[in-house]
Amino acid sequence: METATRCSIFCILPPQVLVAIAKNAPTPEQREAAIDALSIDHSLRNQRQTFSLMGGLQVGALSSVSPDASGRPQKHRTIYDCGQGTALPGNVKRTEGQAAVTDSSVDHAYDGLGDTFDFYLNNHERNSIDNKGLPLIASVHYSNKYNNAFWNGQQMVFGDGDGAIFGDFTLPLDVIGHELTHGVTGSEANLVYQGQSGALNESISDVFGSLVKQYKNNETVDKADWLIGKGLFTPRVHGTALRSMAAPGTAYDDPILGKDPQPADMQHYVNTPSDNGGVHLNSGIPNHAFYLAAKAIGGSAWTGAGPIWYDTLIDKNLKATANFAAFADLTVRHAGLRFGNNSPHQKAVFDAWQRVGVLKKAAQVAA
């Protein structure tokens, strides 16, 4: 093993234990050692992640899908129904190529998985979540009046919403893009879901969730709404969506829900132990940076700022524990690599991070 020279007790601990140590260790040294161990080895990380992605549920049984005669990667979707229970994945309702069924949640999930697969394939030559043709699995009607959608490391899970505040979580395409992108991030940098790296993990899901929607609707940066989860609220809610990338903190202001608490810049960064250290709060900061960069570059975001963010996400130099500044530096570097140093693209990216307070004015633009 390449890392033998750095081996300590942390080398043999599973990542979830390391994360727990990183979060709870009594001394800064222990925390740092755990964080260090988490970010050690990129090759091992990928191997481990692939194993994890292929390991559980039915995923292991379904082998990766081979390209068809045209050589183009093919989708392989399976949608399950939990029937308001919590046992995953539930009963199969629709598999690849089958006609629409009467259950709209099943069909929305099926279509959304397909749109997300097409987005990654057509724009980034990415063959599914793991770039190895991983079959896509989603379960709908999870639990009772469940106001959530999540990625469990192997598949997507959608609740029906309570009907009072939230509707069906399969409705907005960006929610589906968001959850699948957690799988993509998991097979790349696998940003630790805690604090700043966790907020980056969330932001990347919002960014690509929004891009999937913009690409599908063929919206330019000026036409796009830059909202996350539009259509999820019932009409009684005073709000348009769950998050706004254009103006974090303004998505809703409702008597029951309160006001959208997302910060848009580092001055308003929130320190909190809940929500894995505020990953759904502080994601507003990198979200807004992406919006600013995409708007400055103009055109369609999936050909401008999108590829810069994608190049950053798959860069092996992006550590699992990266903070906002480390991620920002890498986006500036990739803007230069893709569009040229001192190009308007690179300047737009640098300015965006500087405006949200992540990069300093005096900082050198990375070559």
Partner: protein, 299 residues
């Protein structure tokens, strides 16, 4: 063997001469700390034993210890290790079967403080050999600290205990801890802060009441109180470990249990943690959070 011991005595005399007057020898005797279950012939200390060894180092830090005697078994070396490291004293090995020789060595030390780390069957022999009373150490006792003072006017003997109580079984102690309050909160999820909820269960004898800052309130019926109390199995909850980390956008539940002995237990879990588990506390909390949310949406 005898030559070695003579050398030890000379070395000890030199060591103790400057700092102690002729006020006799204080011998601190103890059995090794809690041991692991394997290997059977020479097990190391268990985690409990290691922490007891650290306590020993604290207890004897300022006692003026000039020499430490251990046996050939690693559990005695490990018990003495934190103290030895702290004092920069190199422990002397005298085999467990040679207790009478150790007694002879100690009798030839006329001043200072020495520590003897032995076994449940050798420590009583050594104490008796040095003129102390007859003592017995049972198999599950690891917290005895015997102090034998040998002076010109005779011996005095004190039996102390150090570290956590090793004889009272752990399980009954835990059963005596009663929950006074159960605080829980739900955060995370795709919607983030918008769907946060929290609540507190307060127990009074056989009754309990749930309250949330949003005005939600309900009394638990006696059967539910009993079932909830049973589900707060601290041993099980302490063993839950770190939350699953490949979950993204799953709800995070943070739980704090305040016990009547002023102790506090806290842990976190995510959606699905309760799936397939026999303990229903996690399911109860998830369901109560849903009810508290529902109450909020009906305002």
């Amino acid at each position: 063997m005898r030559r070695i011991h003579v050398a030890v005595v000379i070395w000890l005399s030199v060591l103790f001469a400057p700092s102690y007057g002729k006020c006799g020898t204080t011998v601190v005797l103890l059995r090794h700390a809690e041991k692991a279950t394997s290997p059977a012939n020479d097990p190391p200390l268990s985690a409990a034993g290691e922490s007891r060894a650290n306590v020993l180092a604290d207890v004897l830090a300022d006692a003026g210890v000039g020499a430490i005697f251990i046996t050939e078994y690693q559990r005695t070396r490990q018990t003495a290790a934190p103290l030895a490291a702290q004092l920069h004293v190199n422990p002397q090995v005298i085999p467990a079967s040679n207790s009478h020789e150790l007694v002879e060595v100690i009798r030839n030390i006329h001043e200072g403080v020495v520590v003897v780390v032995g076994h449940s069957n050798t420590i009583p022999t050594i104490i008796a050999g040095l003129g102390g009373p007859s003592v017995m150490i049972s198999d599950n006792e690891f917290d005895n600290l015997f102090i034998l003072t040998i002076g010109p006017s005779g011996t005095s003997f004190v039996r102390l205990h150090y570290g956590s109580n090793s004889t009272s079984a752990k399980a009954p102690a835990e059963k005596q801890e009663h929950a006074m309050q159960l605080k829980f909160s739900r955060s995370g999820g795709f919607a983030g802060t918008a769907t946060n909820v929290e609540g507190v269960v307060t127990f009074h004898d056989g009754t309990a009441e749930v309250n949330s800052s949003n005005g939600y309130q309900r009394s638990l019926n006696p059967a539910e109180v009993q079932s909830l109390k049973q589900s707060m199995d601290l041993k099980y909850l302490r063993g839950l470990g770190a939350p699953q980390t490949d979950l993204r956008d799953a709800y995070q539940y943070d739980v704090v249990i305040d016990l009547d002995n002023k102790k506090r237990e806290s842990f976190s879990f995510h959606d699905q943690a309760a799936e397939g588990k026999t303990n229903n506390l996690l399911q109860w909390i998830a369901e109560e959070c849903r009810k508290i949310w529902e109450y909020r949406t009906k305002q």
